[in-house]
């Protein structure tokens, strides 16, 4: 019941948000509207893996994590991402992916922390920051913190807007 109420709040909020931001949110968030379910994660973001890392080993591990995740093996997906993180410990996308897995496992506060850690490595990469705030919002919804979720979604929208304008300038990312 409580969940459904939160869900309504968030849906309404998202509706408003998409109204404000327009097209900007769609290609930049990992969770396009309609697929947003607290507790349901997705390791297959819409950002191409080649933009998440230039290291083919890391991309191979992201593929592995994705297939583990699709077959419901969250633990194995987490283990593959940890392997990737040992190769690129400061890659914000990998921390975000791990946050996604924890969200899917229902470990909401761990998911939030990992997203924050991802943000700490994000520098000026607004896209990953948008996704992190999006995820934090979802985790807060699941925790029953609708005010916190609203704030997070708001920040997600800001970063998404920023990302859109950055993209107009250049699409080169560098996190190494």
């Amino acid at each position: 019941m409580k969940n459904r109420l939160n869900w309504t709040v968030v849906s309404v909020f998202l509706l408003l948000l998409s109204g404000c931001v327009g097209v900007a949110t769609e290609p930049t968030t990992l969770f396009p509207p309609g697929e947003q379910q607290p507790g349901g994660g997705d390791v297959a973001p819409q950002v191409p893996k080649t933009e998440m890392s230039r290291n083919r080993a890391v991309i191979a591990l992201l593929d592995q994590a994705q297939s583990d995740n699709e077959s419901g093996q969250r633990d194995a997906a987490g283990a593959s991402l940890e392997r990737a993180l040992r190769i690129e410990p400061r890659n914000p996308w990998l921390w975000l992916e791990l946050a996604q897995v924890r969200l899917a496992q229902g470990q909401y506060s761990q998911a939030i922390t990992l997203a924050r850690k991802s943000n700490s490595f994000a520098g000026h990469q607004s896209r990953v920051q948008a996704s992190n705030w999006q995820l934090i919002g979802q985790a807060r919804v699941a925790q029953g913190d609708s005010t916190g979720a609203e704030q997070a979604f708001k920040r997600a929208a800001e970063f998404a807007r920023q990302a859109k304008s950055d993209e107009d300038h250049s699409s080169v990312f560098n996190f190494q």
Partner: protein, 787 residues
């Protein structure tokens, strides 16, 4: 008549009584005997069932992940191959063989069952260029570029049942027929027909013993197995009788195949330091580094020959005796038609062919293994650890461990020589972990890293001295309205009174007071008085309350001296503390185990990465800037002798009263490391943090080649050009000054006109922010300030 009958009665009665007694006696004897047999039966069955599957837990180090671009030299991979037991071979087509090529290495990996599935053996090629992997290919009909290769992890130890028994379990159908036949031919020719004992063999043995020729066993394989279960060497008749009874009982309960299988896994075949080698499966690897099915006849003969006396016929310790015994066995093999005459002639001419290896005992890394074991004890029953054949995947990196061990050993020897200290008196400990994942890569428990005794890295609780100061400064910096890196602190004489204790008058290491000093200077030069005053101002309890956040469980006494580190921590605990500073305020519990997998390859437990935000990132960034100052211009300046300034290492020296403990804790972009040096009896060693522990730290990190420290700049941070003299903000156009990080809104608002060198082409800007790559070391602004 009456008397008669009474007499008869009595007689009858007596007779009946004694008859009853006899029957009772017989009954009791039988009862006693049968309960004794019952007892023996239970004992031997327990031993048999229990031992049958007692498999030690096997502990692995990290699996090396190889990918194009990885910083890795050919020497490093050869080191890895050695720890995996690979051999050089001009045709490296068999698993675990390699060959050096002009620009790289060609090899065949072993099949390995990871927690996430089986990885088959592969024929591979790696090319190197400029200290990095340039090519990674799997070789076959077509060479294929691989994005990533996960090597099989090296075995770093085991957790063994009973008396450190190690074994490699083999099923009877995996044992080559030649080995079975040889064993039967040599030890017990009637094995398949007797009931557990061989009466004629026993008679022969008794005859020889009685006639004083010699004391002989005449044991069947079944009896040998029983004997092996209880491992006593006394040769009493009662033991012999027990052994025979138990052998008969075993044969009643189990088939010949079951007994033989257990024999193959149980029999003692040598000692590797503290580790006992049991069974042919493990012995085959231990002496010849190959599985049973690849043993050659003469190797089988060597192993079977050892059954008679594993120590006497040890092919490493007593090669001559072993060779003699082997040839006796070979002779019996040919006599019993186990091998042909031709095979015999060929085999007899071969050398023993034992691989040379250093005894590793239960682990070459006892300190790390001890840490793993303690973590496991929290989650598992000891008996399961020792018998279920668990496979434990840990985080140990042999490369890092190797450099940590070597640096500790060589530096301590050099320090002793340079300071004319008695040899082999200094001790030390090292812990190295990964900054972002909290994985422990190396633990050294003492300068003799092979010694499995006192583990200083986890058990020595020594006062941490100035290593505690960052806790005080972080607490201050978390209040940016009141404290910044340039806030003046008071380093004038201080007396601290607390009811119940004597007055405390902290001193600085140089026995001077420095008046007003900037906050960062007080930390860089490790001023005790300024720090104590700052801590008292902030509140001793408030500071000590934060320790649990950083993973420190114990609570020091609420005295001001605790702020200066008058409490003991182990090097591992210090590593946990500094891990949070290194990781921008995120605490990751240090981990030594990644996963535990059952004997048949199913994941049993994962120890996933867990992160907790315990300190806001901006103050931690400021703290890191000050800790970089410790090396750039403070107490650890001499680190430049090992690591270039571009490394931007952050760290802190720690020295305790009368120079009893020498500490250094620090971090680079990828690693956190802590070193302690001192004497076990807690007498003064005469070393400061900088003259002892820091030198070990520098040497090992230089060899490990860490990544430079470039912490991400939190959004709340701005970098401001400051006049070091006035502590005011310089005009933007000033070309002199020092760049310092501030939490937004906390930098001085007031500007100072440009200094004398402003506008001058020779003027320069010192940077003191964590990402600094060009900080000028030439001018020491601190000295200018106070001269």
């Amino acid at each position: 008549m009456k008397a008669h009958s009474s007499l008869r009665n009595r007689f009858h009665c007596n007779f009946r009584l004694s008859g009853k007694a006899a029957r009772l006696f017989v009954l009791l004897t039988l009862l006693g005997l049968s309960s004794y047999i019952f007892y023996l039966d239970v004992t031997i069955r327990e031993a048999f069932e229990g031992r049958k599957f007692a498999l030690p837990a096997r502990v692995y180090g990290r699996a090396l992940e190889i990918y194009p671009g990885l910083k890795l030299t050919r020497e490093q991979i050869i080191m890895e191959f050695k720890s995996l037991g690979y051999h050089e071979n001009p045709h490296p087509d068999e698993p675990a063989t390699y060959k050096l090529t002009q620009d790289g290495i060609e090899f065949t990996s072993r099949e390995f069952v990871f927690g996430d599935g089986t990885q088959p053996a592969q024929h591979l090629r790696i090319g190197f260029e400029d200290g990095r992997v340039s090519v990674l290919q799997s070789q076959g009909n077509n060479d294929v570029d691989l994005p990533l290769l996960r090597m099989e992890p090296p075995v770093i130890g085991g957790i063994y049942p009973g008396h450190n028994e190690d074994r490699e379990l083999v099923r009877i159908n995996q044992v080559p027929k030649l080995l079975i036949d040889t064993l039967i031919a040599t030890e017990d020719r009637k094995f398949f027909t007797h009931w557990g004992i061989d009466p004629r063999g026993i008679l022969r043995a008794v005859y020889k013993t009685v006639t004083g020729q010699r004391i002989e066993g005449g044991s069947t394989l079944t009896q040998q197995l029983v004997k092996n279960f209880f491992l006593t060497s006394d040769r009493t008749l009662s033991r012999k009788a027990n052994e025979m009874l138990m052998a008969l009982l075993l044969e009643m309960h189990y088939s010949k195949d079951e007994i033989l299988e257990t024999y193959f896994n149980e029999i003692f075949l040598g000692q590797d330091a503290s580790r006992a080698i049991h069974g042919f499966g493990l012995a085959s690897y231990f002496y010849f580094d190959r599985p049973l099915n690849r043993l050659e006849p003469q190797q089988i003969a060597t192993l079977v020959g050892m059954v008679k006396g594993p120590s006497v016929y040890d092919p490493r310790k007593n090669p001559e005796l072993s060779l003699k015994r082997r040839n006796v066995v070979l002779k019996q093999m040919v006599n019993q038609n186990v091998i042909t005459q031709e095979q015999f002639i060929v085999a007899r001419q071969k050398s023993l062919g034992v691989i040379q290896r250093a005894p590793a005992g239960t682990s070459p890394y006892p300190a790390f293994l001890q840490f793993v074991h303690r973590q496991l004890e929290r989650d598992y029953r000891e008996e399961d650890l020792r018998s279920e054949g668990l496979r434990i995947f840990t985080t140990l990196d042999p490369f890092v461990q190797h450099h940590a061990e070597n640096a500790l050993k060589s530096r301590l020897t050099e320090i002793e020589k340079a300071r004319k200290l008695a040899r082999n008196t200094l001790e030390g400990a090292v812990v190295i972990s990964s900054t972002q994942t909290g994985e422990i890569q190396a633990i050294v428990g003492g300068r003799d890293a092979r010694y499995a005794g006192y583990n200083r890295a986890i058990d020595a609780q020594r006062p941490i001295g100035s290593l505690a100061k960052p806790i005080v400064y972080l607490t201050a910096l978390e209040n940016p309205q009141r404290y910044t890196l340039i806030t003046p602190l008071d380093d004038s004489p201080l007396v601290w009174s607390q009811p119940g204790t004597t007055d405390w008058k902290p001193q600085n290491y140089d026995h001077q007071f420095h008046g007003q000093v900037q906050l960062r200077t007080a930390l860089e030069y490790s001023y005790n008085v300024a720090t104590a005053r700052l801590g008292i101002e902030l509140g001793i309890d408030k500071i000590l309350d934060k320790l649990p956040l950083y993973g420190i469980e114990q609570r020091p006494l609420p005295f001001a001296s605790s702020l200066l580190g008058a409490f003991g921590l182990s090097p591992v605990e210090v590593a946990q503390l500094y891990q949070t500073f290194a990781d921008g305020g995120f605490r990751t519990p240090l981990r030594a185990i990644r996963t535990i997998v059952t004997a048949d390859g199913k994941p049993l437990q994962r120890y996933p990465l867990n992160v907790e935000p315990v300190a806001p990132p901006a103050p931690v960034y400021l703290l890191t800037a000050a800790l970089q100052g410790v090396i750039r211009e403070g107490t650890a300046q001499a680190l430049i002798n090992w690591l270039p300034a571009e490394m931007n290492v952050a760290g802190k020296t720690g020295t305790t009263d009368d120079l009893r403990d020498s500490w250094f804790a620090g971090y680079t972009g990828d690693r956190v490391a802590v070193v302690w040096v001192g004497l076990d009896d807690n007498k003064p060693s005469g070393l400061t943090g900088a003259s002892g522990a820091m030198t070990v730290w520098g040497e090992m990190m230089m060899n490990i080649q860490p990544e430079p420290l470039e912490p991400a700049i939190p959004e709340e941070i701005e970098i401001v050009n400051i006049d070091p003299v006035s502590g005011l903000r310089y005009d933007d156009e000033c070309r002199t000054g020092i760049l310092l990080p501030f939490i937004r809104g906390s930098a001085p608002a007031e500007t100072s006109p440009c200094g004398p060198s402003s506008g001058d082409a020779s003027g320069s800007i010192d940077e003191a922010k964590p990402g600094d790559n060009n900080g000028s070391r030439k001018k020491n602004w601190f000295l200018r300030l106070f001269d």
